[in-house]
């Protein structure tokens, strides 16, 4: 187990280094002078030059890269050009927001996806299976941002049931916090529910035809018990693994959802930063999400390892 994880981490290292190079190269790629954007209507060339020096934008790109990496290793990802706030601090502010969105979306995905998957596997080939499949695919096919604006139009504008935007921390007002996040996490959750349902279905199909399920049936256990206890428990491994993997996808999905619902999380921060050419913020977020993604992959591998008795023996 330990050996396996060490190996995986060693492989991840060059990947992370590559990511940091990609991320940094973005700065040279993006057109437009960040300070000019920043200056907006107030462009004083002397001040711009001073700031360029201050943020070391005049250094050779390689020097800038190594400065950035060595600072990043010490937890300092630079300062947002726009608000002067440290990027690390900004991200710590946003982390709970995106995590709450991700967690609530995941709950939606699990609550919809898993039962639907079990049902459609159990009733394989029936109309139920067919409908569940089309519904799941529909969830996957609806553009998130469109579903978002339509929900805002109906639920917030027309019926005035839920807030149209914003974020309230859980600690401040628990109920309002959940209410505010309900629509965005539903939007994000629907797409994931589809993936979840399809994986659950195929995992269940594999298990339902296995010997021990047949044995359990032969023993005269109720169908309910057979399906939920024996079959589902064994189908759980790929589902749990997938859940870990999907967290990475959630962050990507959050990009537009946060934009639509004006949720101050990672996704909104990174898009705004790209448009404002706030390099330090873009670099910081992409680096951290990418590392997070690789970490979740490791977790998924480890879970697979732990939950799969056959692998454990080896």
């Amino acid at each position: 187990m330990l050996l396996f994880l060490t190996r995986r981490i060693l492989i991840a290292l060059p990947t992370i280094i590559l990511i940091s190079i990609f991320v940094f190269a973005l700065q040279k790629l993006l057109p437009g002078d960040p300070l000019l954007v920043l200056a907006g209507e107030e462009r004083d060339p002397a001040v711009l030059e001073l700031l360029r020096e201050k943020y070391r934008l005049n250094d050779p790109i390689v020097v800038q890269y190594f400065t950035w990496v060595s600072n990043a290793l010490q937890g300092d990802l630079g300062i947002s050009l726009r608000t002067n706030q440290p990027v690390t601090e900004l991200m710590l502010q946003k982390l709970p927001v995106t995590l709450q969105l991700a967690a609530m979306s995941m709950i939606f995905a699990l609550v919809i996806g898993v039962p639907a998957g079990i049902l459609s596997a159990y009733k394989k080939g029936s109309l139920t299976d067919y409908i569940a499949n089309v519904v799941a695919l529909s969830g996957l096919s609806i553009p998130n941002f469109w579903l978002g604006i339509m929900l805002i139009l109906l639920v917030s504008v027309k019926w005035q049931l839920l807030p149209a935007s914003g974020y309230v921390p859980l600690s401040e007002d628990f109920l309002q916090s959940i209410r505010t996040m309900l629509m965005p996490s539903f939007v994000l959750g629907t797409a994931l529910a589809a993936t979840m349902m399809r994986h659950t279905r195929s995992a269940m199909l594999g298990v339902l035809s296995a010997d021990y399920v047949r044995t359990a049936r032969a023993k005269g256990l109720t169908e309910r018990r057979v399906v939920l206890k024996h079959a589902f428990r064994n189908a759980l491994t790929p589902i749990v693994t997938l859940t870990a993997l999907l967290f990475g996808e959630l962050v990507a999905g959050a990009v537009l959802t946060e934009q639509i619902f004006t949720i101050p999380g990672f996704g909104k921060m990174v898009v705004d930063a790209v448009f404002n050419r706030d390099y330090a913020v873009v670099q910081g977020i992409v680096l951290v999400t990418a590392v997070g993604f690789i970490f979740m992959n490791l977790v998924a591998d480890a879970l697979y390892f732990i939950l799969n008795p056959r692998l454990r023996g080896q």
């Binding site: 990947t15 990511i19 499949n133 469109w146 990475g248 999400t289």
Partner: protein, 291 residues
């Protein structure tokens, strides 16, 4: 030796095709997908000859008018016919899906074959780069690339294509690893066939089916990605229509003109659903295992 094996394989292939088609046809949802996709492809292709108003003609007296006999899907913020723009927009959206996936395949498949077939350092370098790209969220990568290239439909397609490349590299590599050790590849190597020929004749055809399935599914993703980029102002540029850019404008008039947002959204949904169903059907049909 090759002369004798080739016809045999052809014959087998022919049989397989037959079986594939039969399975595909019996797959009702795949058929539905095919119909949806064909419908949108058809209206996109026929856009120039369909009896619809010009999608660029503005009318100050018909700004944001609800659907009526004159304008079946209403008019937009400067009095253009929404249906006409929807139909012409189908061209942009479908093109974006197909071209960006084409780009991703042209880049990804050869790299995947190289990585899988040669292994060693080639594999290590390509694989690490792939993982690095995969780790950065797809849409963020596409947004950054599109911002770098400048907002236009072509650039959005390139950005999406590059962002989708690692998926194809990884898939192809995995498939090649499976095929590489098959007997017929070994024997081809044994008789001293040059590597490019082995790659072209034995590896590529055998890894292609799952790649085609992935391509169909990725077209669905790419259409949504183009819509997302256009929604952020980075895709198709005014006055030319695309579904994403129509939505981008429409979100400012949600209350006054909900029809502006409704139709493009439904269209994206249907065509993406079509490609997803189609890809699913293809996967089942091409899967040699029986479900």
């Amino acid at each position: 030796m090759t002369e004798t094996t080739a016809p045999m394989m052809q014959e087998q292939l022919g049989k397989a095709e037959n079986r594939v088609w039969k399975k595909f046809r019996s797959h009702r949802s795949a058929l539905l997908g095919g119909i949806l996709v064909s419908f949108f492809v058809l209206i996109a292709v026929l856009a120039p000859i369909l009896p619809i108003p010009d999608p660029a003609t503005t009318s100050w007296s018909a700004v944001r008018k609800a659907p009526s006999m004159a304008h079946w899907m209403g008019t937009d913020e400067i009095g253009r016919d929404v249906m006409a723009r929807l139909i012409w927009g189908a061209q942009a959206s479908l093109l974006a899906g197909v071209v960006s996936v084409g780009i991703a395949m042209c880049l990804g498949v050869p790299l995947g074959i190289l990585a899988g077939y040669f292994g060693g350092w080639t594999d290590a370098i390509i694989s690490r780069c792939t993982e690095a790209l995969l780790a950065a969220p797809f849409l963020i990568l596409a947004i950054a690339l599109a911002a770098f290239l400048g907002p236009s439909l072509t650039n959005a397609m390139i950005a999406i294509g590059i962002s989708a490349t690692p998926i194809f590299i990884r898939l192809t590599r995995g498939q090649v690893l499976n095929v590489r050790s098959e007997d017929y590849v070994d024997s081809a190597r044994a008789i001293g066939l040059p590597t490019p020929k082995i790659l072209r004749r034995y590896i590529l055809p055998n890894v292609l089916p799952p790649i085609l399935v992935q391509a169909t599914l990725t077209i669905a993703t790419a259409i949504i990605a183009e819509a997302s980029l256009s929604f952020l102002g980075l895709g198709q540029q005014a006055p030319a229509p695309s579904w994403g850019s129509m939505l981008n404008t429409a979100k400012n008039f949600l209350n006054q003109a909900p029809w502006m947002a409704m139709w493009p959204g439904i269209s994206i949904f249907l065509v993406v659903l079509g490609f997803n169903l189609l890809g699913d059907g293809l996967r089942d049909a091409l899967d040699p295992r029986e479900h």
